[in-house]
Structure formats: structure tokens, C-alpha cells
Amino acid sequence: MHKSLRITGLTLLTTLLLIIGALAGGCASSQNNSGSAGQAKEQAGEPYQLGAVIDISGNSSSLGVPERDTLLMLVEKLNRAGGINGHPVELTILDNKSEETEAVLAVKKLIEKDVLAVLGCSSSGPSMAMVNIVQNAKVPMVSMAAASSIVEPVSERQWVFKTAQSDIVTVKKIITYLKAQGLTRVAFLSMNNTYGDGGKAAFTAAAEENGIEIVVEEKFEASDKDMTPQLTKVKASGAQAAVVWAIPPSASIITKNFRDMGLSIPLIHSHGVGNQKFIELAQGAAEGVILPIGKLAVASQIPDSDPQKKVLESYIADYQAKYNTLPNSFGGYAWDAFNLVVAAIEKAGPDRAAIRDELEKNTSGFVGISGVFNMSPADHNGLGVDSMVLVEVKDGKWQLLE
């Protein structure tokens, strides 16, 4: 009897190991979503190779899918119009499954393919994982993720650029709002990953400078199904507002939990929730959420005098014609990354170092979807506070607040 118990225990332990093995196996065996587009058109010129590493599946897929769709649309359009100086563009898109290791493998594959530049990733963690590789291989990379640490310090990131507004820019926008409303005691909740940590670092620093006290600081996992435990601390703390740094679906779940618990303080999110999926998944709980966002989401509400208005409207029209749905700010990051690189290749030719120099030195006043880019040797993001607006969710739509 005693012996059989021991054997049973051993078998159960083996089973546990098997489960862990299944996790690894499951990751390795799921599909490698690679697609290449644009080789249909054979022209006089040799095709230019570009690569993209996108979070198409996994936790950040709500970001990656619109980015992939935007890139496919843009490369098709570019090749139909004759490519870059008569050279068609061949874009290889690889899926990193929202994981750091997969991103590293994918970018190595692309570099072996001799791509001129790499676009990606969609989220901050995988982007950070690629930084060292492209730095060593001297390949220009344009990330579409938020954390400012992706491009800073620039002295160690000469080859890395990014198009999403930095968490520092977003934080400034939120702090200005908090101060204007006289909210000085806030709760800060963030995802336990690079995106959440970047937001947390930027927010903590800016809050201290501006006399705002963070009374509770909590984290949650991207795969968590219930954030009520973290929110109970917020409720007990007497915070005047809650700032959440996350992306859907966890951002939607925490919003639902927030309303279910009957918390009535203002709920402020980051630009990580800037897609319709966030509102959809939160099922009504998103009403009243305030967040800074790129102008794309409220393109029809911004004044005609805005320099971005025309670019925004043409992107929306193109995207709607092709996919029959509205684009979101993540697709916008991809639009910017693609067009920045294309503009640089146009002038610099197919040379990695020349493309990098062109991106850094000659990107000024580039009107994109996420804002007007002014890159410099000190700033590889190139976006200011004017690239964002504050919006509130009203009747399931984004409503300009200012």
C-alpha cells in the first residue's frame, strides 16, 4: 500500500513534467505564420527585401493583426505604383507569437535573408529582445511599440527607431489632465511586462515632479482573468483616480472588474487600449474611460487645419476599402514605420547604413498617422505631446475631450 502511494506520487510528478513539456511543445508546434507579399509584380529593378516581425498570435495579437493587415495593404499599393525607384518591395512578415524568444529567432531569419530594414515588433518586450541583434548586425529597425527604453539611450540604440508615441509622451498628457482636474492621489495598475514597467517608470517619475502621490501600485499578468484582488486595494486606499497601463484583453477585464466593484473614481487608461476591441470586450464597462490616443481614432473630430487630417483620412479610406473595417492606432504605427523606411530607401538607396543615417538625420516634419515625426540623433521616436489627444469613451465610441 505504502509503495503504491509512492509510485502514484511519482507518476503524478511525471505528469506535471509532461504538462510543462506540453507547454513548450505547444509553443514550438503552433503555426509559423509567415507570409510574403508583393512578388507578383516583376519589374525592371531587382526587388528590395524588407522584413517585419509582428505579434500576430498570442497575448498582443490585438495589436499585431491590424499591423500585419496595414503592411500587406501598403506593400501591395506601393508595388502597384511601381515600387521604390522602380524596384518592387518584397516584404516578409514573421509571427513572433508575442514572445521574446520567437522574436529573436524571427529577426535572425530576416537578417539572413539580407533585408534592408526590419519593422517590429508590436509590443515592447519582443521589441527589446530584438534590439541587441540589430545593433550587432547593423540593421535598421523600426519598432511599433510604446516603451521609451526601446530607443533610449540613443547612444546604445543607433540602429533602432520607433513610431508609437513613447510612454513619456503619454504620461505627460495624463499628468496634465490629472493636474487640471485637481486629482493628486492616484492608484497605478500595470501589466507585469515591458509595456507596463515602462509606463510605471515614466509615470512614477513624472508624478513625483508634479506633486502627484501614487497611493497604491499594483501589477497583474497579461493572462489574468480577474483583477478584483488588486482593485480591492485601490478601493481601500481612497485614491481619487486610477491609472491603468495595459492592453486588451486584460485591460478590458480590469475595466469590467472596476465597474463591477462599484468604483466611481475616474478610470484613466494608456494608449495601449486604443482599439475598438477594448471597448467590445469590456461590454459597456468602457463607458467613461479616459485615455490619451493618436489622432486617428478621432480623425473626423479634429479640425481641418490639423496637418495630419489629410493623411489620416486617406489611410482610413484605403483601409476601409480593403478590409471593410476601421483602422486603429496600431495599424497607424505600422503605416508610419513602413512609410518612414520607404521614404528613407527612396533617398538613400539599398544600403543599410545609409538608410539609418537618412532616418535619423533627414526625418523632419514627416506627417504620419501617429503624429508629425522629427527624428534627431538624440530622439529616435520624434513625436511630441501634440501627437496625442485625450478622448473619452462615449456610447462605445471615442469622443474628443479637449
Binding site: M1, T228, Q230, D260, M261, G262
Partner: protein
């Protein structure tokens, strides 16, 4: 502070009843066939995704739910015939490895059909949260807990109080003897997988409004359900529910009072502790039997 403890308790009970449902399905198949079905979480994911698709296609919710439960039950039976039955004479460990293979294939299938998007179902009953002792309780949590209790009582009645239940349990303990008295272990195993498919799908549908659904949610559910089942002793339906609720409440208190980062590690720590200190589980009496 008492408010906070109360809130954490309810939040833990919600999570716990989700784990308990998966654990119940695991224990059922284990009791009847001696196979630990590690694809159980995938049954929940596919059932939930099917129901969401049917509901989105305009089929009334109740019909959509019943239809998807029936479809997943058929899937369970089909997989048993295709993968488990041919290997019925193999060792327990081989069968477990087969179910891991099934779980990976099902996840791949779900990825192909539904993609990587997150889906959600509307809550079964409209209206805001209920307040019990200063803590907010989501009405959907009560549905989930209700399903767990209902399933528990049905299974308990079946296994402990009916002749058929005792007969199928006998089929695990001694195949040859069961055959001699007219029980066909093959047929019993087929029905067990149908049942666990149906139960998994029902669990998936009930939790979808709370947790939302993705193609890969089955994996984490499967692991937590497995831990819950082992805590409870693997062969006891009551133990599965106790194990699930205990795990959920522990996780919730751990996230709320200690650190939210530690929460997922807790499941494995508890599992190891139970296996080392009390391998027969909290309520289990584990004799000589095939795992």
C-alpha cells in the same frame, strides 16, 4: 479590511469554481477510464468558441449553448474512438501522452478556425453586481458556482448511489473482472469521453462572460484543473470541487495580500506540497490503480 477580505474571498470562489468545473470533468474520465485527459481544457475552449460563433450567427443563446455542448460531446467520443481506443492496452503513461498530443492538435485546430482574437459572450443575466457583506459579486460568478454544484451533485449521485455508476468504476479497478460480469470497458470509455466533452464545453460557455475566450485558454485551465483534481485526490468528485475552490481562494488571497506576481507559482507550490505530504489528496483514498 474585513471588506477587502470578503471581496477577495468571493473573487477566489469565482476563480475556484472555474477550476473545480475542469477538475470535475478530469476526475470523471479518470474514474471511469483510468485515463487522465489532459485535453480537458481544450474541450472547454472549443465549446466556448463554438457557442460564441453559433450565437454570433444569430442562433438564440440557449440553443447555441446546447448545440455546442452536443457537438463537443461528439468530438470527445470521436477522439476516444480515434486515439484512445486503439491504444487501450497501452500503459497509463502512454495514454496521458496521447491526450497531450490531442490537446496540442485541438489547440492548433482552434487557432486555424478562430484565429488569435479574443472573444466574449454577454453575461447570462443582465444587471450590475450584487453586494454581499460589502463585497461586489458578479452575477455570472453565481451561475458558475451553481453549475459546479449541480454537476457535483449529479456526478456524486451517479458514482455513489447508482448501480451503473458503481459498475463503471469497477471497470477501472479490474478490466477482466468487469468484462466477466458483462461490462464492456470500451463502451464505458467512449461514454466517459462524450460526458467529459459535454462537461468541458458547458464549463467553457459558463466562464466565457467572465474570462473571455481565446484559442489557447484551454492550456492554463487544464493545468489549474489538474492541480485542483490532484489536491482533491483525483478519484473523488467532492475532492475536485474542494481542491478547485481552495486553489482559487488561495490564489486570490495571495494576489490581494502578498503579491500578484506570485499567484501562478502558487498552483505549482500547492501541487508539490500535496504530492509530497499527502499524495492521496485531501479527500482521496488512492489504492492500487492505473494512472
Amino acid at each position: 479590511m474585513p471588506d477587502q477580505l470578503m471581496q477577495l474571498l468571493f473573487s477566489g470562489l469565482t476563480l475556484g469554481s472555474i477550476y473545480a468545473l475542469i477538475a470535475l470533468a478530469l476526475v470523471t474520465t479518470f474514474n471511469i477510464t483510468g485515463v487522465l485527459n489532459l485535453a480537458q481544457g481544450e474541450f472547454a475552449a472549443i465549446g466556448s468558441l463554438l457557442a460564441i460563433s453559433l450565437y454570433a450567427a444569430g442562433i438564440p443563446s440557449t440553443v447555441a449553448f446546447i448545440l455546442s455542448i452536443a457537438l463537443v460531446a461528439m468530438l470527445g467520443g470521436l477522439l476516444e474512438r480515434a486515439a484512445i481506443y486503439p491504444a487501450r492496452r497501452a500503459s497509463g503513461l502512454t495514454l496521458i501522452i496521447i491526450t497531450i498530443g490531442l490537446s496540442i492538435s485541438l489547440r492548433g485546430l482552434a487557432l486555424l478556425i478562430w484565429g488569435t482574437e479574443t472573444y466574449s459572450l454577454p453575461a447570462f443575466t443582465k444587471g450590475g453586481p450584487l453586494f454581499i457583506g460589502g463585497a461586489a459579486v458578479n452575477p455570472q460568478s453565481i451561475w458558475i458556482l451553481g453549475l459546479a454544484i449541480l454537476t457535483l451533485s449529479l456526478l456524486y449521485t451517479f458514482f455513489e448511489l447508482t448501480y451503473a455508476g458503481k459498475a463503471v468504476k469497477a471497470a477501472v479497478v479490474n478490466r477482466t473482472a468487469a468484462r466477466l460480469v458483462g461490462i464492456n470497458p470500451g463502451t464505458v470509455s467512449f461514454w466517459a469521453f462524450m460526458g467529459s466533452g459535454a462537461l468541458g464545453a458547458a464549463a467553457g460557455i459558463f466562464i466565457a462572460p467572465v474570462t473571455m475566450t481565446t484559442y489557447d485558454m484551454g492550456f492554463m485551465l487544464g493545468v489549474k484543473g489538474f492541480v485542483a483534481a490532484v489536491i482533491g485526490g483525483l478519484s473523488s468528485v467532492g475532492g475536485a470541487v474542494v481542491g478547485g475552490l481552495l486553489l482559487g481562494v488561495l490564489e486570490s488571497y495571495c494576489a490581494g495580500l502578498v503579491s500578484s506576481g506570485l499567484k501562478d507559482a502558487l498552483a505549482v507550490i500547492v501541487l508539490l506540497a500535496v504530492l509530497l505530504v499527502r499524495p492521496q489528496g485531501l479527500l482521496g483514498v488512492l489504492g492500487e490503480r492505473k494512472i
